[in-house]
């Protein structure tokens, strides 16, 4: 009588182990076509499922080992076909649209990433986590991100506004306006951007337009990857209050400009640095009054 029970028991164990195996196997393999998508996938625990990516996906460290199948100019369609991913996550505005159209035509399952705000990051983290079989971890990461974001917003929402100039590029002098990614950093940190109303998100401007704006702070993000990048030489323009008061900050451009969980750390650091300027200016004002 005992034998059938034993067999039944063994069957039960093996079938549940098999189910576990199938579940493990059924997690889709992914080609992630932008550095920020790779970061998001690692954040939700799906990093190991990535079988191909594009150039510059260098974070976290393990991501450097993922095979490359193209860059932002062109994708190697043959390599994509060869790898047979279950899912391709593409960056809507950053990947060559004709290559993506061809991949869709070949029957690949493509979903798109297009984070335009901090809120979008949390939304996409949840979505990609669900698609890759990591719903729970995705929810945790997204919630933590949202809570931290709310916390930072709360910390700075009642601070006094200061006028700041964001130097995206020095030659030609280029700044940011509404609709650009860095503008939301300025909004949270309570920086008044004199160029916010310009209709193009990344306007080229001349120093002549910066002079009358009474800029109290200059934000000059620099990237480690671009060693030859030279910032604008502000020292020639001591007429600008920010230069006269030596209020020029140089945050890490890589962390700021990549639309991933890391951008929150960049936001926190930036707001902190800006707050220092705010305190400095306030102290100066008080001294002047007395």
């Amino acid at each position: 009588m005992k034998l059938p029970y034993l067999v039944y028991f063994l069957l039960l164990i093996s079938s549940s182990a098999y189910a576990e195996l199938v579940k493990e196997r059924s997690k889709p393999t992914i080609i992630a076509l932008a550095p920020h998508i790779v970061e998001m996938l690692y954040d939700v625990g799906a990093g190991e499922q990535i079988i191909g990516t594009t150039a510059f996906a260098d974070f976290p460290e393990q991501a450097k080992k993922i095979p490359r199948i193209g860059n932002y100019v062109r994708l190697q369609l043959e390599r994509v076909i060869e790898l047979q991913p279950d899912l391709i996550i593409a960056w809507k505005s950053g990947n060559p649209s004709d290559d993506l159209a061809r991949l869709e035509q070949l029957g690949f399952n493509i979903v798109y990433s297009q984070p335009n705000t901090f809120e979008d990051i949390a939304k996409e983290v949840r979505y990609f986590a669900k698609l890759t079989g990591h719903t729970q971890q995705g929810e945790q990461v997204a919630r933590k991100f949202e809570n931290e974001l709310a916390q930072i917003k709360k910390t700075y929402q009642n601070k006094s506004k200061i006028t700041g100039f964001y130097e995206l590029w020095s030659r030609p002098l280029t700044t940011v306006a509404k609709g650009s990614w860095p503008q939301q950093f300025l909004n949270v940190c309570q920086v008044n951007n004199p160029f916010k109303p310009v209709i193009t998100p990344y306007p080229q401007i001349s120093i002549e337009q910066v002079l009358p704006a009474d800029v109290q702070l200059i934000i000059q993000p620099l990237s480690e990857n671009q060693k030859e990048r030279e910032g604008f030489n502000w020292q020639d323009w001591t007429i600008i209050p920010a230069v006269a008061n030596k209020q020029i900050i140089q945050p890490d451009a890589d962390a700021m400009h990549r639309m991933s969980i890391r951008s929150l750390t960049a936001l926190k650091d930036l707001c902190k640095a800006i707050d220092k300027t705010r305190t400095h200016l306030l102290a100066k004002k008080t001294v002047a009054k007395t």
């Binding site: 150039a55 095979p67 490359r68 199948i69 193209g70 860059n71 932002y72 100019v73 062109r74 994708l75 190697q76 369609l77 043959e78 390599r79 076909i81 060869e82 047979q84 809507k92 505005s93 950053g94 060559p96 649209s97 004709d98 290559d99 159209a101 061809r102 869709e104 035509q105 070949l106 650009s180 209709i199 193009t200 998100p201 990344y202």
Partner: protein
């Protein structure tokens, strides 16, 4: 068999051989026995099947007809305008296609598979229509090229203006699209380009004597009974349709139309019939191999085809200038 037919026969053999060998190159790892099985019978490996039949063969075939088309368009224009530097791209065709692509990229971003080639084609055609209209108003068909250069700059400035105020990433997409690529082509593109090409070749062969008369000068041609303006307009229309179709699917592939006819003139001769057939064959061989370099020379990326053709073309251009200096 004379020398010319021997060369043409050898070139034909080289075209067929190039196309066959080109199929073996590519980033996907497919060995030659597998490739042969896929070509002659059914493929064992479904991945190799898709790579060969849906990626490589369409690419090689489009390279073949696009190379032929661009080279022929250049040859026709050089002979009908009697200007050795004439090239279909000097009529603002690429700038027009770029403008079309820009508008499509900004306004119809969700429907690019159909919208992009269509908008590029219409843009290219639009530029040629303006060029011809200007030349007509000026009553000087021989100034077509100068009008083309002016229109080209005008359209490029409109494109840049739209891009500057548009979505920032659209700039990248349009610029990279204009660098040219055969990566995105499929069999239906081949059929479209091939049919325009056949119409062009048949028309030119039918009219090759009249075009030859143009080489003697407009007055001599007119005295031989050729309606010079009408013929030039027809040829320009054919070149425009041919180039616009190719640009719409492959983006900007510069300088093929300029340099191939010059090589063929040295090799075979200057009269239209020889020049057209020779240019078609050499153009096909050239673009097939340029695309092989584009897709297999870098381990993890493609090189846009237009970069390679422009690099080779500009060196060739300087070489022509140097030779003309040496002669005079």
């Amino acid at each position: 068999m004379n020398k010319v037919s021997t060369i043409l026969l050898a070139l034909t053999a080289l075209v067929i051989l190039s196309a066959m060998v080109a199929i073996t190159f590519g980033p996907a790892d497919i060995d030659s026995s597998e490739l042969l099985t896929c070509l002659v019978s059914t493929c064992q490996n479904p991945i190799a099947n898709v790579v060969i039949w849906q990626v490589r063969i369409p690419r090689v075939l489009v390279a073949l007809v696009a190379g032929m088309g661009l080279a022929i368009a250049g040859a026709i224009l050089q002979n009908t305008t009697r200007n050795p530097l004439a090239d279909p791209y000097l009529f603002g065709i690429v700038s027009g296609a770029g403008l079309g692509a820009t508008i499509a990229n900004i306004t119809l971003a969700d429907n690019l598979t159909i919208a992009l080639p269509l908008a590029a084609f219409l843009g290219a055609l639009f530029s040629v229509i303006i060029v011809v209209f200007i030349a007509k108003v000026l009553q000087r068909m021989e100034q077509l090229l100068l009008a083309g250069v002016a229109v080209s700059f005008m359209l490029a400035s409109i494109t840049q203006f739209i891009l500057y105020f548009g979505e920032p990433f659209a700039t990248n997409r349009v610029i990279f699209w204009l660098m040219g690529s055969l990566a995105r082509v499929e069999m239906s593109n081949f059929y479209v380009i091939a049919s325009v090409l056949v119409v062009a070749i048949v028309t030119v062969i039918a009219l090759h004597r009249q075009i030859d008369a143009l080489l003697l000068g407009d007055e001599s041609a007119a005295s031989l009974g050729v309606d010079v303006d009408k013929l030039r307009l027809l040829m320009l229309g054919i070149c425009a349709a041919l180039t616009a179709t190719i640009v719409a699917y492959c983006g900007g592939i510069g300088f093929v139309g300029l340099m191939i006819p010059h090589i063929v003139r040295q090799l075979i001769g200057v009269t239209t019939l020889k020049l057209i057939i020779g240019s078609a064959l050499v153009g096909a061989i050239f673009l097939i191999w340029v695309d092989v370099v584009a897709r297999s020379s870098l381990p993890h990326a493609e090189i846009p085809v237009g970069i390679i053709t422009s690099a080779l073309g500009s060196i060739f251009f300087l070489f022509i200038m140097y030779r003309t200096r040496a002669i005079t």
